[in-house]
């Protein structure tokens, strides 16, 4: 039988192993971004802004020009890069602590200005790299190292729905929430990432894709249990949908 190649490593990804924990979905998100960049043929003009947290070393895996921003400031860095060089395709890759806590001001205002940047927002409902503390997206009753009795809304508020909140603004062009925990979600996630980049390239405004992801290590679960937990616990709180699409 003739050998048929049905999948290969994206051209813009290095042939290296990542440092992520077993069952972590950063690797899938990385790959989807790389595939989209390859398909759009923008490797030479794409510039990423790496966040703080586990994915700070994303530039070791995806072969592009990169910045590495201070905690939460990726949208400010991306804003200025894009304003200085409108010919570039500029995107940030940010976790929930980075984007929804310390960097909340930057993301809201970049979105509200309609900056022509794309934001990939990894929401795993916890702080990963610092060891499993509560995030703004932590679910009610979810136990973390700083909510040992479970997140109590009276003490710590409610999980912030970033995609919904930014959708209330006039300027964003594309806002969607997806997941990557099962193949059926992965296909939709890639479509959303592609739309986000196209929104920018076609000058239709700010774009953000929120990706519901896993953190088996800090959740204290097996990779399979973590995958199921996203489906059973996170998706009901953070529904998957396109909140805004370019007109």
């Amino acid at each position: 039988m003739k050998e048929v190649l049905i999948a290969e490593r994206p051209k813009s990804m290095y042939k290296v192993s990542t440092h992520y924990c077993p069952g972590c979905t950063h690797g899938i998100a990385h790959r989807l971004i790389a595939e989209v960049i390859d398909e759009l043929g923008i490797q030479d003009r794409a510039v990423g802004v790496a966040p703080v947290g586990c994915s700070v070393l994303i530039y070791n895996y995806i072969d592009l020009d990169w910045y590495e921003a201070a905690h939460g400031r990726a949208p400010a860095v991306a804003t200025a890069c894009k304003r200085a060089r409108p010919d570039l395709a500029v995107f940030t890759y940010q976790g929930d602590g980075d984007l929804a806590s310390i960097g909340m001001a930057e993301i809201v205002h970049a979105a509200n200005r309609g900056e022509r940047i794309s934001v990939i927002f990894i929401n795993n409902a916890i702080y990963g790299m610092t060891g499993g503390q509560m995030a703004p997206t932590t679910l009610l009753s979810q136990r973390t190292s700083t909510t040992p009795y479970g997140r109590d809304p009276k003490a710590s508020g409610y999980p912030i729905r970033v995609a919904e909140m930014l959708s209330t603004l006039a300027a964003p062009g594309y806002i969607a929430r997806v997941s990557v925990v099962k193949p059926k979600y992965v296909i939709k996630a890639k479509e959303a990432i592609k739309k986000a980049f196209l929104t920018q390239i076609e000058d239709k405004g700010f774009s953000l894709v929120e990706i519901l992801s896993t953190c088996p290590t800090n959740w204290g679960m097996s990779p399979v249990a973590a995958t199921n937990w996203v489906e059973e616990q996170m998706i009901p709180v953070f529904p998957l949908k396109e909140f805004k699409v370019p007109e």
């Binding site: 003009r45 700070v56 592009l64 020009d65 990169w66 400031r73 890069c81 200085a84 570039l88």
Partner: protein, 354 residues
């Protein structure tokens, strides 16, 4: 060009930046420097530039990180509490070796303090403010004309050393008006930013990463050593000062920068009129500080007097230069007050016992 015009300090600073090729300005309003962003918002679109009012000083300085990392001439301006908010980002910019210009039109502190002029950010400017082993080049002009010339120089120095440069003035200078002239500075041979800035992957044939993280100790130590070598080069090449009335038989050496140096200049005339042999050393760079003129003070000197609109922050640098050869005194006002000529003359006479 070549024409003398009457301009307000803040606007002169802004125009000088545009003349120097700055096309990107990010900033957040704070008194007493608001005429700078206001002027930029009007002028930059005229020259094909970008003005953006950010959501905070924290965002501002990270926008400088983004624009400088893309290889363009970029600037912000702020005042004391705003610079405090930027301090973290300044450390990142210095760590990533990005060129940019930061103007600090100082007001009186600490905390919110007041909106009147001050010079109490000397420590913050020269000793850091942000974390880690880094230095900023600090330019402290004494007149608006010098401010214009130094702003133009600041962009070249930033590009030459790939280092942030701060133009440190006080609120008086921002608000005063003087006749100024915009002279085209001589063109320096500057390194090509396409070698390291993002967005030139195709031209360069390899990618660029603008970053500060280095998890391994040895490469980070090496990076720090390299930064320190650069700072030694700056100390060797860029230290600037003015000696005024520093005759061989000078008995009292006054030290002041910015607006205070102008008050001291008037005080010196009054003292000389009374036959008192006093002169001034005026730092034009606060870092690198001009230690040499203090090391070379003649034996005729009896005392050194620092005059500042702070509680004496520059005194430590003067003492390092004087190395205990002469007593160092201090006279200053703060809180938004400025020393008067009469006060400085009185302080000088008390020190000399006349």
């Amino acid at each position: 060009m070549g024409e003398r015009v009457l301009m307000k300090g803040n606007e002169a600073l802004a125009e000088a930046a545009i003349q120097a090729g700055c096309r990107y300005f990010f900033g957040y309003p704070i008194t007493p420097q608001n005429e700078i962003p206001e002027y930029m918002s009007r002028r930059l679109p005229e020259v094909g530039g970008v003005y953006l009012q950010s959501e905070s000083e924290v965002a501002t300085i990270n926008m400088l990180f983004g624009a400088a990392g893309a290889g363009v001439r970029v600037m912000t301006s702020s005042s004391s509490p705003g610079i405090s908010l930027m301090s973290e980002g300044i450390s990142y910019i210095a760590g990533a070796e990005l060129p940019c210009v930061i103007m600090n039109v100082m007001r009186a502190g600490p905390g919110l303090g007041g909106i009147l002029p001050g010079q109490a950010d000397y420590f913050q400017a020269t000793r850091g403010g942000g974390h880690g082993d880094y230095r900023l080049l600090i330019l402290t002009p004494g007149t608006l004309q010098e401010a214009i010339d130094l702003v133009m120089k600041a962009f070249d120095l930033a590009d030459l050393y790939r280092n942030p440069v701060m133009v440190l003035v006080d609120g008086f200078m921002g608000q005063m008006m003087e006749a100024v002239e915009f002279k085209v500075p001589e063109k320096l041979e500057l390194p090509d930013k396409k070698e390291w800035a993002v967005g030139y992957r195709k031209e360069r044939g390899r990618r660029a990463i603008v970053k500060t993280l280095s998890l391994e100790p040895d490469p980070l130590e090496e990076h720090n050593r390299r930064l320190q070598e650069k700072y030694r080069r700056i100390e060797k090449n860029e230290v600037r000062h003015e000696s005024y009335m520093m005759d061989d038989d000078v008995e009292l050496v006054m030290v002041a920068y910015g607006t205070t140096s102008r008050i001291v200049r008037s005080s010196l005339k009054a003292l000389r009129a009374e036959g008192i042999k006093a002169g001034m050393v005026r730092p034009i760079t606060a870092w690198p500080f001009p230690y040499e003129p203090f090391k070379k003070l003649p034996p005729s000197v009896k005392s050194v007097l620092a005059v500042e609109m702070s509680c004496g922050q520059m005194v430590e640098d003067i003492k390092l230069g004087v190395a205990e050869r002469f007593p160092v005194h201090f006279y200053g006002r703060c809180g938004g007050n400025a020393p008067s000529v009469e006060e400085v003359v009185r302080a000088a006479k008390e020190i000399l016992g006349c």
